[in-house]
């Protein structure tokens, strides 16, 4: 046997490199869907047969590929998303390494149907194992369709390592769920063996997608969350503690609309829910983080799943605080609903009611007594909710007014000391209902809320 060192032939290089990017049908779907999203499509359909092993189709109504660019597209390191390394910093698109199409074409039989808006006729390009077979005109709608057949047909070793069609199909399904949530403004459809399994409308409402994916029970136990702090914005829904799960599979978070995993966030979630959940129980969260691209490094992992943050600590704090606020604020909303919401006869809050400043909270007693219980405040007075009031509560309530789609910049002045206390902020939650005076205060809280808001918040809750 010849044991000299030699350069591999192109075919082999392609196949090996392909293995990095294309591990399984799900990777193919992911790459193609990301391309579709980058192409500006607002409707993307994925169809698979046999778990995606024998047939994958991804159709989008995006900008299509120009006829003259088709052949180039399948070359390695060819991409329209960036032109130089500087672009990488600003990369707004999901795909950028220029590896996907060439990898896919190296290990499968690909058929491409595409048409741009300007052209009258579309193109059909067939390539098998990196070898071009045909290139014709064809009648197709605007957009692009990739059909990938017989994945790994020319690398039997790889093929053997694939799991059963059901399993592979479930990976694709999981991926589709995540991408649907991260892009609620795009209408997705997943068809498995001729049955439409998942569909989203593209109307921008995350809650609709959650409802159609996970059902009424989960949807009704979610709370909206909406907070921002300079470079970081957090929106989405967090589950009430009763929605606890045995694993992290429902801790879903997206950074700049990309589904990722992150240790920082994982730890923040653990910390935020610690007073609420039992050991080894994890919450349900759907979080969408918008972070300036300079603060993130995406190029860490080939599949772009793990990312690193520049300001991890800031993110951590922000997450913990806002989650805890929401969870505690939840009781506020729930109680309000119990009262008659027609009782809006008050025009203003009474003068003598002022928020208890943080410093006056009996913090020490609190932490000692209520280690694992739901927090109970020891306030004696209720705050007013005049708009001039800069206590963060009224602003948070304002935030609840809007569905997460719109993000508001809030001025939460959270000093270092108060960071841990913000959780116990001056929320008028008199748990001692026997105190008659509080009842009035509760009504006053009502007066600040408009009818519609109450109903809207109830709907969300």
């Amino acid at each position: 046997m010849d044991r000299n060192i030699q350069i591999l032939d192109k075919n082999t290089i392609d196949k090996i490199a392909a293995g990095e990017v294309v591990e399984r049908p799900m990777s193919v779907v992911k790459e193609l869907v990301e391309n579709s999203i980058d192409a500006g499509a607002n409707a993307i359909t994925v169809e698979i047969k046999d778990g995606g092993i024998s047939y994958i189709r991804v159709t989008d109504n995006g900008c299509g590929i120009q006829r003259r660019d088709i052949k180039t597209a399948f070359l390695r390191h060819a991409t329209s998303k960036i032109h130089s390394i500087e672009d990488l910093i600003d990369v707004g698109s999901l795909g950028f390494r220029g590896e996907a199409l060439s990898s896919i074409a190296a290990v499968s039989k690909v058929e491409l149907l595409t048409k741009t808006a300007e052209d009258i006729s579309g193109s059909r390009y067939v390539i098998e194992g990196s070898k071009e077979l045909s290139f014709d005109d064809v009648g197709v709608p605007e957009g692009t369709t990739f059909i990938v057949r017989q994945l790994f047909y020319n690398t039997p070793a790889r093929r053997k390592f694939l799991k059963t069609p059901q399993t592979e199909g479930s990976y694709i399904s999981d991926y589709m769920e995540k991408v649907m949530l991260s892009h609620p403004d795009i209408s997705f459809k997943l068809i498995i063996n001729n049955n439409t399994r998942l569909q989203s409308s593209g109307n921008g409402e995350i809650i609709d997608i959650i409802y159609s994916l996970y059902g009424r029970d989960m949807t009704q136990a979610l709370l909206p969350i909406n907070t921002s702090d300079g470079d970081i914005k957090i929106t989405g829904y967090i589950g009430k503690p009763e929605l606890s799960r045995g694993n992290r599979s429902f801790e879903l978070y997206y950074v700049n609309r990309r589904y990722i995993q992150s240790t920082v966030i994982r730890r923040a979630l653990d910390e935020a829910y610690k007073p609420y959940l039992m050991l080894h129980k994890y919450p349900v969260v759907f979080l969408f983080l918008d972070i300036s691209p300079e603060l993130i490094d995406v190029n860490v992992h080939p599949t772009k799943k793990e990312i690193r943050f520049l300001e991890g600590g800031q993110l951590y704090d922000m997450l913990v605080n806002s989650i805890r606020d929401t969870l505690s604020g939840r009781e506020l909303i729930a109680q309000i609903h119990e009262t008659d919401d027609e009782d809006n006869t008050f025009d203003h809050a009474p003068e003598n009611v002022r928020p208890e400043p943080f410093e006056q909270n009996a913090i020490g007693t609190f932490t000692a007594e209520h280690e694992n219980e739901r927090p109970v405040l020891s306030l004696h007075e209720t705050p007013s909710y005049k708009s001039e009031d800069h206590n963060g509560l009224s602003e948070r309530i304002e935030a609840y007014r809007h569905m997460p789609a719109s993000i508001e910049r809030l001025n939460i002045n959270v000093s270092d000391r108060e960071k841990t206390d913000v959780f116990y902020e001056s929320v008028s939650r008199s748990d001692d209902h026997d105190n008659e005076g509080k009842a009035d205060a509760k009504h006053e809280q009502l007066s600040m809320f408009e009818h519609g808001f109450l109903r809207a918040s109830y709907k969300a809750v």
Binding site: A43, T45, E47, R57, T59, L113, I120, S121, G122, D136, D137, V138, G139, V140, P141, E142, T145, S187, Q199, S201, G202, N203, E205, I207, D208, Y211, S212, R216, T219, R455, K459
Partner: protein, 756 residues
Amino acid sequence: MCVSFIADRYGLSVCDVTTGEFYTTEVDEPKKLLDEIYKYSPAEIVCNDSFLLCGIDIDELKYKLNAAVYALEAWYFDDELCERRITDHFKTDRVTCFGLNSKECGMISAGALLSYLYETQKNSLAQIRTIKTYDVSEYMVLDSATRRNLELTETIRDKQKRGSLLGVLDRTKTAMGGRALRSFLEQPLIDKERITLRLDAVDEFLKNTVTREEIREYLGPVYDLERLMSRVIYKSANPRDLLAFGSSLKMLEPIKEQMKDFTSKELSGLYGELDTLDDLYDLIASAISDEPPLQIKEGGIIREGYNETVDSLRNAKKDGKNWLAQLEARDRERTGIKNLKIKYNRVFGYYFEVTNSFKDMVPSDYIRKQTLANAERYTTDELKELEDKILNSEEKLFSLEYDLFCEVRDTLADNIERIQKTASVIARLDVFASLAHVAEKNRYCRPSINERGVIDIEKGRHPVVEQMINSDMFINNDTHLDNGKNRISIITGPNMAGKSTYMRQTALIVLMAQIGSFVPAQSANIGLVDRIFTRVGASDDLASGQSTFMVEMAEVANILRNATKDSLLILDEIGRGTSTFDGLSIAWAVVEYISNPKLLGAKTLFATHYHELTELEGKLDSVNNYCIAVKEQGDNIVFLRKIVKGGADKSYGIQVAKLAGVPDFVIDRAKEIVEELSDNDITVNVKSIAEKKEEKKSRVKRLDEVDLNQMSLFDTVTDDDVISELKELDLNNMTPMDALNTLSKLQNKLINRWSY
């Protein structure tokens, strides 16, 4: 259905006895009458004598509808009787409340129909609560050919719902909703405001996905209330029906709860109108047990706790059973017969059964009742006493339960008006939810409605075909039509390239918009259309002795005579089926006629193989040429299915034939012949004709000539028809009355020649 023909007006009333719907209208033209009849497709038509003689082809009607058509006696149609019949049934003073005072003919048909129903149904017809009088001008007119060609509710090929527009739009959860959607489809609106109200409702449902899907979940278990109610009225309802009713009513409260935040006028109106019938639900829930039998005279119907007597009788029955058990045990001990049993059958009642082995241990007070092969059956006084008690109480129980059941049923019957109202609210809700669900699933957009007659569709798709091809590969196309420079689109291009689909999709999108549904397009601005006419597809009607060409010409004639400037015409290949010159000339003349706003001026999509017609674009300024794009690759053609501006210059017929598999030998020879024929191109001649058209005077004159010629041609044919009938009359065996009737019938035929 009942039709009355009186003094040149036709009254029409139609009723569905299973749901209680009753509609009445009045028209003045046989054409409109036939449109309505075909719309409802009744199974039975009764009429007055004059209708049979009015000149409409009754046999054809019978054949096409597969319906029974016959005349009732004249007294049914007496106006006073009819009026009385109506006021009596609906317990009103006058018929004005139904809008029938101005529609005398309609009123008569309504009264006659009621009388007929009383005679045949033999019950109170309580489910008919009201008469809905309408005007045919309230809705878009769709003749039966158009309904069929557009495949609104069933396909042409196999008359199935799947593959029709209804099949695509119907995702209703209740039977009532399904019926309501069908009637939406059959009666598109022409009033902008009404359409906008419906669109707002669909829009609101689209924006509130969660609410909508929740409501649809709750609608699932709702049964067909209307049909259930008719069973209640006919007193044929059984306890299970009432339970079904109850479980449907249970859903009303949560549905209403979901609706409370609606803001659109239509939906918030429905919210206000929805009577949750709580009292009826409570009645059924408290009265009817969970698993009643099908028989109504054998008890087990009424729930415990509803009626004291029932409960005590039941206890008595139970006690009776206990007593029997006790007696059995006691006697077993007493006699020592170990397998002594007390059994029951209908013939002998209760008895002791003893097997032959123990026969001799039977005591003296046992009276033998029956002997069997291996056992003997006895009774005793004690047993007889018990038996009487039990059976008596059973009898009483059964009859009491039956009475109570009837009471519940009758209470429901009394509330029929409320129930029908609720049913119609639910039906409408279901329709809007279904339309929104489909709009979301199939990615439709909201059409905007204008009254300027502009039809502007961007990236339109055919709602049915795009679902059928199932792979997102439907190629969209734009449509632009208006009442000015874009009145007529002449579409040329090869067969199978998508011309028909394109034209049909335009018609369907307009229709969907006027129903109040969203449409398959990126955006759509729809000008209101009062009628849609289609002339597509081949239609041999050999059975009635008409060739394809004849049928098509009759349809064209119908269209040209009945269309208005607000109509939408879909014409596919006018003039085929006859010689090229004749066909081309007819097509040409038709286009000229339509494009002239003084003569017709309707919006038209005109597909043709005569690419000579493309000459008209320059000459008539409201005509535009379009063609279906194809790309030639050698001998093969690639269908691009895109509509582009400009005329096609080739028909690619030969290429399509090759695709179809016609042998190469034939194809090659055809190509040769095409070459030769092109030299003698009629295009040149045609061009010169087009130029001559510029002279106004001659154009007018020619039109009249053609017009007259056409008239005389057809008149000749008609006259022959009538003349031969006259010839065959057997005057010797006719009474004067018969003769007069026949004469009248023939005369009407001549007058109403253009109905078909």
